[in-house]
C-alpha cells in the first residue's frame, strides 16, 4: 500500500473515531473559556422577596422555615436551615437556597439546575477519572496524528508544498505572535 493512501486511511478513520470527543472538548472548551461571563455547569435564577412581617426572623423553628419556603418557593421542597451569622438566615431548598437578611427582611431566592449537555461535557473535560485520562491522552495523541496526516492528504498546488504551506505558516504564526506580545512582551 502506498504511503499516501495509508496516510489518508489513518486520517479518515481517526476522524471518525474521535468525532464525538472532538465535539465534547470543543464545546466544553468554549464554555470554560467564558467562565467570567456565565456558569457553564448550572442555570442559576435569582429573585428578591420581602419577608412577611408576621414571621419573627431572629430565632425561627423548622415549621416557620417550611412556611417561608412555601410562600417564596412553593414548588421547591424545604430541606434545612441555619444562621450563618446573627443577621443572616439561610434556608436550603431542593434546588437552591433562600438567604434572608433578618434586619431588612429582604430574601434572595437562588435556584440552580444542571445545564443540559454542557454539564455532562464539562464533567468529561475536567478529567474525572484515571481511565478518562487514558482516553483523553489517546485523543490528544490522535489529534496530533490527525494534524500531521492532514498536511499530506493531497498533492500539488493546494497541498503542503503550495497553498497548504502558506496556511500552515499562518496557523503557526498566530500563537507565536501572541507569545511575542503577551509572554515575551517584545512589543
Amino acid at each position: 500500500m502506498k504511503l499516501r493512501k495509508l496516510n489518508r486511511i489513518i486520517h479518515r478513520d481517526l476522524g471518525y473515531i474521535f468525532f464525538g470527543l472532538t465535539i465534547i472538548y470543543a464545546l466544553s472548551g468554549i464554555a470554560l473559556n467564558h467562565l467570567n461571563n456565565w456558569n457553564p455547569n448550572y442555570i442559576i435564577h435569582s429573585k428578591e422577596f420581602k419577608i412577611n412581617n408576621k414571621y419573627n426572623l431572629t430565632n425561627i423553628d423548622k415549621q416557620i422555615a417550611v412556611d417561608i419556603t412555601n410562600e417564596i418557593a412553593p414548588n421547591e421542597g424545604f430541606k434545612n436551615f441555619y444562621y450563618p451569622s446573627k443577621e443572616v438566615l439561610k434556608i436550603f431548598i431542593k434546588n437552591g437556597n433562600i438567604i434572608i437578611n433578618t434586619n431588612t427582611r429582604i430574601a434572595l431566592l437562588e435556584t440552580s439546575k444542571r445545564r443540559p449537555i454542557f454539564h455532562q461535557f464539562n464533567y468529561l473535560h475536567y478529567n474525572p477519572r484515571k481511565w478518562w485520562t487514558i482516553i483523553s491522552d489517546t485523543f490528544a495523541i490522535a489529534l496530533m496524528i490527525l494534524a500531521i496526516s492532514g498536511l499530506f492528504i493531497i498533492k500539488g498546488k493546494k497541498g503542503i508544498t503550495g497553498r497548504g504551506a502558506w496556511l500552515t505558516t499562518i496557523g503557526i504564526f498566530v500563537p507565536i505572535l501572541f507569545l511575542l506580545i503577551y509572554y515575551w512582551k517584545i512589543f
Partner: protein, 191 residues
C-alpha cells in the same frame, strides 16, 4: 460480532472497576485516625495535619463552577472548614447543600507566609496585565483593591503570629456520604 465484542468489553470494564473500588474503600476506612464533628476537628486540627479523618458536618455551600469545593459548618456556624475534592471525587453534587455529610479525607495545611502573599500579588498583576487596559472593568478594579486590603490584613496577622506564618486548614476528601434524615433533623434543631 461487534455487539458481542462490545458486551464483553462493557462487562469486563464493570467487573474490573467494581473490584478496584472495593479494594480502595477498604484501605480508606482502615486508615481513619479519628471520627469527628467539625467543632471537634477545629479544636485539634493542627495535630491532625496529613492524617486521615472522618468528619461530620452540615454542607453550607458547594462551589457552583466545578463542584470541586464545599464548606462544612460547625455547631457555631461562624466556624467552618473547606473540603476539596480529591482524585476519587469528580465533583460534589450541588444537591447536598443543606444536608449533613460524613466526609473521609486527609487534613491539609496551607502555610500563608509573606512569600506566598508576594506570589499571589505577582499572579494578580500578571492577570491584570494579560487582560490589558481595555479588558479591565470597574468591578475588576474593585475586586483588586478588596483583595489587596485582605492581603495587607494577612501581612499584619503574619507579623503578629508566633510562627511567622498563618495556617489555613482544609480537607482533601476521598469519599463522602449523606447522613440519614434523622441525624439531619437533630443537627438542624440544634442550630
Amino acid at each position: 460480532m461487534i455487539k458481542n465484542a462490545l458486551m464483553i468489553l462493557a462487562v469486563s470494564t464493570l467487573l474490573f472497576s467494581c473490584e478496584n473500588k472495593e479494594k480502595k474503600d477498604v484501605a480508606k476506612t482502615n486508615d481513619i485516625v479519628e471520627t469527628l464533628t467539625v467543632d471537634e476537628l477545629l479544636i485539634n486540627i493542627d495535630s491532625l495535619v496529613d492524617k486521615n479523618i472522618e468528619v461530620t458536618g452540615l454542607v453550607s455551600h458547594v462551589c457552583k463552577h466545578g463542584g470541586k469545593r464545599l464548606v462544612l459548618v460547625a455547631e457555631n456556624p461562624e466556624k467552618n472548614i473547606h473540603v476539596n475534592a480529591g482524585e476519587e471525587i469528580t465533583e460534589f453534587n450541588k444537591n447536598i447543600e443543606g444536608n449533613t455529610i460524613k466526609a473521609i479525607g486527609v487534613v491539609k495545611e496551607l502555610k500563608i507566609t509573606n512569600e506566598y502573599l508576594d506570589n499571589m500579588i505577582a499572579e494578580m498583576k500578571e492577570h491584570k496585565d494579560a487582560d490589558g487596559e481595555e479588558g479591565v472593568r470597574e468591578e475588576d478594579n474593585d475586586h483588586h483593591s478588596t483583595e489587596m486590603e485582605k492581603i495587607n490584613k494577612l501581612r499584619e496577622e503574619i507579623k503578629n503570629s508566633k510562627n511567622g506564618y498563618l495556617s489555613e486548614y482544609s480537607i482533601l476528601c476521598n469519599s463522602y456520604k449523606t447522613v440519614e434524615v434523622e441525624a439531619n433533623k437533630t443537627e438542624t434543631d440544634s442550630l
